[in-house]
């Protein structure tokens, strides 16, 4: 096995040797460059903010490259200890966490602040994929139930922080693994039923007032146009007034005159649509779709069930980011704090996301090694 691997290594291109999947990289870099332009426009046209974002992107790319060098099968060894450690960190966040913006998400390590929920975005799919792939697929019901419990633990801990957006994404990443592992449709039906039964419990026992307010605002933003409905109303105005061609780069009045809230972070899509219009949106969607297609292609072509499930889950979760963010900004979903992946200004979630892409690239370039 080892010799074959070494033989093949000689025939591989430089990119393959450094474990980079070129199509995926092109898609990612496209979004990053696009993002820099929009961040410049949304951030008050200050170069400073663009430079800071560029540094973050650079770090994120390095993280991606580093992660890509790790053989994917080795994640399995670390799955259980990482998962346990992750849970412990989440508990300690609840106990000693640093409060920021009304939620306990951060753990102050002294030299840096650290958000354990971010790594859980990676640990949960790894753990579930590891657990499910130990057995034959399609997974048995008993395994699926255990997998569900594994997903639920970090999800609830994060929801309690409260950070509904992240807990939702983490739940998704786990559920996607279960789905891809072939959970029967019957079971899926039952789960959907249970979830709808769970919704009232969520509403009455788990959700904080501000979260309920967001949902209510989502249902009827005009009810409180200057209060909590303001974000959504202004965001829809920004998107709608962009029209087909957009108002032009740096010309978006909603964003330049600061009517739009959270312009360079969560609501950056509204800035983008206002300035680049439906044409710009189409291009953006095409790039996202291309990345998703490439991700699924890598997953399908992965050699092991574990890597298939992991790559598939990471790709689908990436799309959930896109869907939730754009859905929220355009008024289809309630406002939850999810950035537009690879475009929004901000560091932590970007690094996690790129680490995920690093894993997908590792899976893409390491398949023959372990075949």
């Amino acid at each position: 096995m080892r010799t074959t691997g070494q033989d093949q290594q000689r025939h591989r291109t430089l990119l393959q040797r450094i474990h980079v999947d070129l199509p995926l990289l092109i898609g990612i870099v496209c979004l990053m460059i696009l993002g820099l332009f929009v961040v410049y426009s949304a951030g008050g046209q200050e170069l400073d903010i663009v430079i800071r974002q560029s540094i973050r992107l650079g770090i994120a790319l390095v993280v991606m490259l580093v992660v890509a060098q790790i053989p994917p099968m080795s994640y399995q060894k670390w799955a259980v200890p990482m998962f346990v450690l992750g849970l412990m960190l989440l508990v300690s966040v609840l106990l000693f966490g640093h409060i920021g913006k009304g939620a306990q998400r951060w753990l102050d390590l002294g030299f840096m602040k650290f958000q354990p929920s971010e790594i859980m975005k990676l640990i949960v799919p790894i753990t579930i994929a590891w657990y499910v792939s130990q057995y034959d697929l399609p997974a048995k019901i008993s395994n699926i139930i255990i997998a569900f419990i594994l997903v639920l633990m970090p999800t609830l801990l994060i929801a309690k922080q409260p950070d509904l957006g992240t807990s939702l994404l983490i739940a998704c990443s786990g559920i996607f693994v279960i789905f891809l592992a072939g959970a029967s449709w019957k079971l899926i039906g039952v789960c959907v039923g249970l979830a709808s039964g769970f919704a009232p419990i969520l509403w009455f026992f788990l959700m904080e007032t501000y979260q309920k307010q967001r949902v209510l605002t989502f249902l009827n933003p005009e009810q409180d146009p200057l209060g909590s409905g303001y974000h959504i109303i202004q965001s829809k105005i920004a998107i709608g007034s962009g029209g087909i061609h957009g108002k032009g780069w740096l010309q978006g009045t909603q964003s330049q005159l600061e009517f739009l809230p959270e312009r360079h972070t969560d609501f950056i899509f509204a800035v983008f649509s206002e300035e680049f219009g439906l044409i710009g949106v189409s291009v953006l969607f095409a790039v996202y779709l291309a990345i998703v297609i490439r991700g699924l292609y890598i997953a399908i072509n992965a050699q092991q069930a574990f890597t298939k499930l992991l790559a598939g889950s990471l790709t689908l979760t990436f799309f959930v980011y896109v869907f939730v963010n754009i859905g929220m900004v355009s008024g289809l979903l309630p406002v939850v704090g999810v950035p537009l992946p690879l475009v929004s200004y901000g560091g932590t979630s970007m690094v996690t996301l790129m680490a995920g892409f690093g894993m997908i690239m590792a899976i893409s370039t390491n398949k023959r090694v372990h075949a």
């Binding site: 399995q76 697929l137 709608g240 029209g243 399908i300």
Partner: protein, 658 residues
Amino acid sequence: MSARKRISIKNHTAEANLFARRAFISFIGILIMLLILFSNIYSLEVNSYDKYQTKSNSNRIKLLPVAPNRGLIFDRNGVLLAENKPIYSLEVIPEDVKNIQEKLTEVGQLLDISAEKQEKVLKSIRSKRRFKPVEIHSRLSDQQVATFSVNQHKFPGFFIDARLKRYYPFGDLTTHSIGYVARINQRDNIKLEDQGKADNYAATRNIGKLGLEKYYEDVLHGTIGHQEVEINNQGRIIRTLSFNPPVPGKDITLSLDIELQMVAKRALSGKRGSIVIMDPRNGEILAMYSNPSYDGNLFVHGISSKNYNKLRNSKDLPFINRSTQGLFPPASTIKPLIALTGLEEKMITPEYEIFDPGFYQLKGVKTKRRDWKKWGHGKVNLTKSLEESCNVYYYDLAFRLGITRISNMMEKFGFGEYSGLDIHEERSGTMPSVEWKRAKYNQQWYTGETLSVGIGQSYWTVTPIQLVNAITILVNKGEVKIPHLLKSTTETTNIIIDNKKSVSTVTKDVVYEDKPPIIIQDPKNWDLVLDALHNTVQKYGATGYNAFKGTTYDAAGKTGSAQVANIKQDEKYDAETTQENQRDNAMFISFAPYESPEIVVAVAIENVAKGGGASNAAPVARQMMDQYFGDRVIISKDPSRHPHHTKVYGEKNVSNHK
């Protein structure tokens, strides 16, 4: 290791197929979700584009109203009577100042602003948006403006703002005619709203509250302009998009002569009364002054309650415009009109004579009505009745005419009706009649009251403007002019020709059409009465003779002294003033030059210390005429009619005198 083993025995193909299927289903799901997102954005950006485009614009574009400059007011000779004077206020934009408290103390020391005031400013700074200017001092003196300007570099964020404020340079001299503007209040707002003018007043602070300022509000105000600006989410102005300048109000020129006004004020000083001067040729009011007056400037920026109460509680009632609101019994001044009525109704002829024993007694009535001359005027005809102001002649004439014929004729001369003068502050007075008394008191008319009406007393009250108007009709022999203060309007417009700005001014004289004239059966009767009035001033011993001795112009007139006499105002009985209030009112009407009259003067003075119209009001009229004619010498075509005018006619003409 056990896990490894299990993987190796797994069915890889089946697993791969299952995964591919699931991945494909996921992909379909992704496509559907992307489609949902896309169609939602399509509907926002394409279907609802217009709606959101409008919303986006209304977010960022604000129309800022720009107030037009109020039209100026000039007197007939171009003297400025109402102007817009810049006032300077010191303001600060808090966000431009680093240490606001320290800088405020510094500027306070520099300009002598009290610590108390500074504290107030600090408070209002905290409550306002940081980029909105806060007023520190509302009215800087020229000295303060200069001091600050020199030191401005030390105070970034502080600046001087200039605003225009209405100012009446002649103060109390013009208040009763021009009135004043003051801050728009709730009631004004409702009225503007009702009249659909609210939009035009969006940027206007003051509105005409009294006098001409109120009457010609629409002329003086102008049309609002708009500045279209782009603002951000905090309302800060980012830039101006377009500017549609306001159209300034029209300047107006009045018929008033401010010099005559000054003389009027001097002539009435220490007295309560009114002088109205009208040009009988066109109805222009040359002077209209009511004493005491007050300074309209006090009201422009809001009068203090102390000042207001002082004026309000003054026994002299300065708020009353006696020229148009003062109700005086006309007394003997209307005898010429009664005489005209008698001639017209053929009750008297110029030759008709009565014997005046000093009193008049109705048949079967014990009461004797005494003439002002105890021993009587003896034989009295028309001319003498006016020259000497014989009451008995008019008791007799009034008795024979009856109230109805008198009041019918007097109504034609405008008594009991608004004069039509272009200010709103006017009272109509009362021209009593049988119907009037029945309607008002539900009482019958008594003959005794007719006698009183014959000498301008009883219920009859007139305003000086009515009096001057009625005498003007007499002077014009029936022509009825509309008394007015507005002479012309001037519109200033900026014209841009070949990118060069120029100003065009268009002055339009206001045309006042005469009212239907009073036609009498025998026009000679006008001359008979006017002649008698001439004699009243020109003939030695007549009531107006003394006052007009030695004028260089040829005047005619009639005196009047009203007995009961206090202008009717809703004032309380006050023991202290009662005595004074019971004194006579002095009245005088006059016109000159006799042959081609240029001015008609009415004078009314309340509660004179002693004497009547001849000694109190006539000299005032003389002062006014002296001012009006100045050095002019008006030579009559028929000097024989002017027995004592040596000055006028010179030595050459003296020999011609009878």
